[in-house]
Amino acid sequence: MRILLIDDEVELVSTLAERLSFRGIEADWATSGREALEKVAEASYDIAVVDIKMPRIGGIELKRMMAEKYPHMKFIFMTGHGSEEDFRTGSEEAGAAYYLVKPVDIEELMKKLNEVLKR
């Protein structure tokens, strides 16, 4: 399984990627929508874990851009808010089961990664 973590907080995605690598998952990270688009153009990813609220290209827009170009990719959304609006948008885009509220529980993320891959 190869995944791409996308969040504008570099320390969050880099640490999360390292922790996932200890669990046998190959994880890359990007800190902006633009960087994420460059990465998916260079390598193939099974799943992108995307923060909903990011500068410039937001998570929802980014998901749509990536899904259009790479239809095999699956998505999990992260959000800091857990607000009704974020939940509604995230659920519509990825399904209610594939939406995580920060701080992220790594075991919960692992579970969702495995579930979404089987979907």
Partner: protein, 221 residues
């Protein structure tokens, strides 16, 4: 049209909500980073229990990163506290330079989400005015929000506070796009006019200079 104080009251709630949502989002990010660093420490502990060698420098680095985030959270919470206390008094003496710097700090995340950088030109000396601290913060936000919409992603909005004949003024500059046909228009609206009137001030949009100037009296009536 609603009365002036109805407009100001509704806007005040919206402003308070917007700032609190932004602050809570930033705090959540800090907590998420601390959570991952603590999780990484836990992972290292489990590895050490299985006999793997862990570099003490990595542990020291992680502790340092957690401390850094705690300091970041402390800054955010201090700003939140200052913001919350700005409603304590309807009139008080404030340093407008400090208020502008504070509002830029409070709005920094919202600006960053729009891909905009904020730059504050610090005044050479304190600019003391007697005013309503909360309403001043609110009108600065309204002007800044409009300025950011005009500037667009990738641009910098400069905020400068200085003294003038009537009292003081805040200039929002580098808004060259003000003169573009595609630029947002209709400013100031009822909300900004109501806030400006209650503060005894006025807003002037200078398209040619690419500036919005908010004038405020030395003391509000």
């Amino acid at each position: 049209m609603d009365g002036k104080w109805d407009i100001i009251g509704n806007e005040g709630f919206e402003f308070m909500g917007k700032m609190n949502a932004s602050i809570s989002h930033e705090v959540k990010n800090v907590l998420a980073i601390i959570n991952e660093n603590a999780g990484l420490l836990e992972d290292f502990t489990l590895m050490a229990e299985k006999g793997m060698a862990i570099d003490p420098e990595r542990l020291k680095g992680l502790a340092g990163k957690i401390q850094l985030q705690v300091r970041r959270a402390d800054r955010i919470i201090r700003n939140m506290n200052t913001f919350a206390h700005s409603v304590d008094e309807t009139r008080s003496k404030v340093d407008l330079g400090e208020v502008v710097a504070f509002m830029a700090a409070l709005s920094d995340r919202l600006a960053s989400m729009k891909g905009i950088a904020l730059e504050v030109t610090p005044p050479s000396r304190p600019i003391m005015i007697t005013t309503s601290p909360f309403l001043v913060e609110n009108i600065i936000w309204r002007c800044l929000d409009f300025a950011m919409a005009v500037a667009g992603p990738g641009k910098t909005v400069v905020l400068t506070a200085d003294k003038d004949d009537r009292g003081a003024r805040i200039t929002f500059s580098r808004l060259e796009a003000l003169s573009h046909a595609s630029s947002p228009t209709q400013f100031p609206l009822d909300v900004e006019n109501a806030l400006a009137e209650s503060l005894g001030g006025q807003i002037v949009v200078n398209e040619g200079a690419g500036e919005i100037v908010l004038g405020l009296p030395e003391a509000v009536d």
